[in-house]
């Protein structure tokens, strides 16, 4: 019984450490519970989709898809177009997805081919590919848009007449998905106040007598995320999903079983890229502003760090990991600067701390994965050499 308990802790060391850090940092930060819950709900809605897009390449044994920034860039191009045309609301979001999809598919196919040429070092290759395509993206957005690619809205263009501004307001689609089914949780007192301010609109008003504070829930976003989780569970059971898992186990075995390895790997990357495109659009509709040249940069790093903090590894990740990760990672994100300020008197320390944790956790996860794999390889080699007598 006790042994089993320790096993669980050992297998989930990373989430456990983060729960411990949070347990110290939350009281230090001095935030109220309702504030934290509200922030977390917002961030779960904002980030989950992006993180979920990482699952399929992991399933296919391609490691963490650092190339997901390609999809994020495709989504941003879609958003730039709808901003230029002035398409707002849900139609605007859907249209942005529609425009982003073919771009994401093309980039995904490109990425897949490149990764097939770099088997065994997919991660570093997809990482550098992200930088490379970032260069192409910047060239497109900064020089071609408004010159060759028709963008006319003066709110988007730089004053020189071509190239998109650094910050683009997405006021037309800001929080449209989050507020599609407006839902509020509060206590009876708060409900009265809320109705006074907002009027008796079409709100789902859930009243909990013991609840402290008022929380808005992005219900529609959660529904989309839930649907997506169902999709992933279903996808694992399809023929394609089974093929991917077989390739993830062993490429050579999959190949001899007649599975088109290279083609399936490309499909895995294409799906991931397209989903990252939608994920970035959902992310940005919540943020409400597009930092044309930075928004996609951090999408990859933060998503990967969150997934790993959730207890995933380079070769194994589940939907649970995604949600545990997004909660723990963003909990730290919210409380670290305040905790740093209250502890040492400098918010900057907390700021750097969370950056350090993001990179550190990725480094540790990569090291643990490679270490384990090499040990297994070594053990396999020994047992091959020495028959049963080899000391493993």
């Amino acid at each position: 019984m006790v042994r089993k308990f320790f096993d669980i802790i050992a297998n989930n060391a990373v989430p456990a450490v983060f729960i411990l850090i949070s347990a110290f940092a939350i009281p230090l930060s001095g935030f109220s519970a309702s504030y934290l819950v509200q922030e977390l709900l917002t961030r779960i809605g904002r980030n989950s989709f992006l993180i979920l897009s990482l699952l399929i390449p992991i399933m296919a044994g391609m490691g963490l898809n650092f190339g997901m920034v390609l999809g994020a860039m495709a989504g941003q191009i879609g958003l730039l177009f709808i901003c230029d045309w002035g398409i707002v609301g849900i139609p605007g979001m859907v249209l942005a997805c529609l425009i982003g999809t073919p771009i994401a598919i093309i980039l995904g196919i490109f990425c897949g081919h490149i990764l097939n040429r770099a088997k065994g070092r997919e991660m570093v290759t997809s990482y550098i590919l992200g930088f490379f395509i970032n260069g192409v993206y910047q060239m497109t957005v900064l020089y071609l848009m408004g010159w060759i690619i028709p963008i006319t809205n003066p709110n988007l263009l730089l004053s020189r007449g071509y190239g998109v501004r650094n910050a683009v307001s997405l006021s037309g689609i800001r929080a449209v998905l989050d507020n599609l089914i407006p839902t509020v949780i509060t206590n009876p007192e708060g409900a009265k106040q809320f109705l006074n301010v907002n009027g008796a609109g079409s709100f789902f008003l859930i009243q909990l007598p013991f609840f402290d504070g008022t929380i808005r829930i992005p219900l529609a976003t959660f529904i989309i995320i839930a649907l997506f989780c169902v999709f992933i569970v279903w996808f694992r059971k399809t023929k394609l999903g089974q093929d991917m898992r077989a390739i993830g186990q062993s490429q050579s075995v999959a190949d001899s079983a007649g599975i088109p390895v290279n083609r399936t790997r490309i499909i895995a990357i294409v799906i991931s890229t397209v989903l990252a495109c939608y994920g970035q659009i959902i992310y940005l509709q919540n943020m409400g502003t597009l930092n044309t040249y930075n928004s996609h940069d951090q999408a990859g790093m933060f998503s990967i760090a969150a997934l790993l903090i959730g207890g995933a590894s380079v070769s194994k990740a589940s939907i649970t990991n995604v949600f545990v990760g997004v909660i723990l990672f963003h909990l730290m994100f919210i409380v670290a600067p305040m905790a740093g300020k209250n502890l040492i008197g400098e918010a900057q320390i907390g700021e750097y701390f969370r950056v350090f944790v993001s990179y550190g956790i990725i480094a540790i996860a990569l090291v643990l994965h490679a270490w384990k794999r090499n040990r297994e390889r070594e053990a396999a080699r020994r047992s091959l050499r020495g028959g049963n007598g080899g000391k493993a």
Partner: protein, 130 residues
């Protein structure tokens, strides 16, 4: 051989239909989701003299009171909108009211010349100012 060719053709035909449907969906989204700026202009245009005062509301929104030579701008989403206007004389009495549905279709921003609209003429839509 022939059957294989037919199958091949069928496949591409299906793909083409899906593609066309997606493009149609895109166009439809563009059509229903576009935001337009409606400039309301109470200025003399041709034979129609600027009105003393006109209260305009678009799609049942906030009412804006426009005196002579005043201009206001409203934002609407979608291909058509409803405009309601009350026209006043010098004494502040309501002379007439107008209620009209206006189609914008695919153009972006338009300007409505209110005196022309009040006179019941058709050519009240003029190009939006830059």
């Amino acid at each position: 051989m022939f059957v294989a060719f037919l199958k091949f053709l069928m496949r591409w035909f299906q793909r083409l239909i899906v593609l066309a449907a997606l493009i149609a969906l895109g166009v439809w989204l563009f059509y229903i989701g576009r935001e337009h700026q409606i400039f309301l202009d109470n200025k003399t245009s041709g034979n129609f003299k600027a009105l003393e005062q006109i209260n305009v509301s678009v799609n049942g929104g906030e009412i804006s009171e426009l005196m002579q030579r005043e201009r206001d701008v409203k934002k609407v989403v979608g291909p058509k909108f409803e405009i309601r206007a009350e026209i006043f004389d010098e004494d502040g009495e309501i002379v007439s009211t107008i209620s009209k549905e206006i189609k914008i279709c695919f153009s972006k921003d338009i300007m409505i010349n209110l005196p022309t609209l009040a006179a019941g003429e058709e050519n009240f839509i003029v190009p939006a100012p830059k």
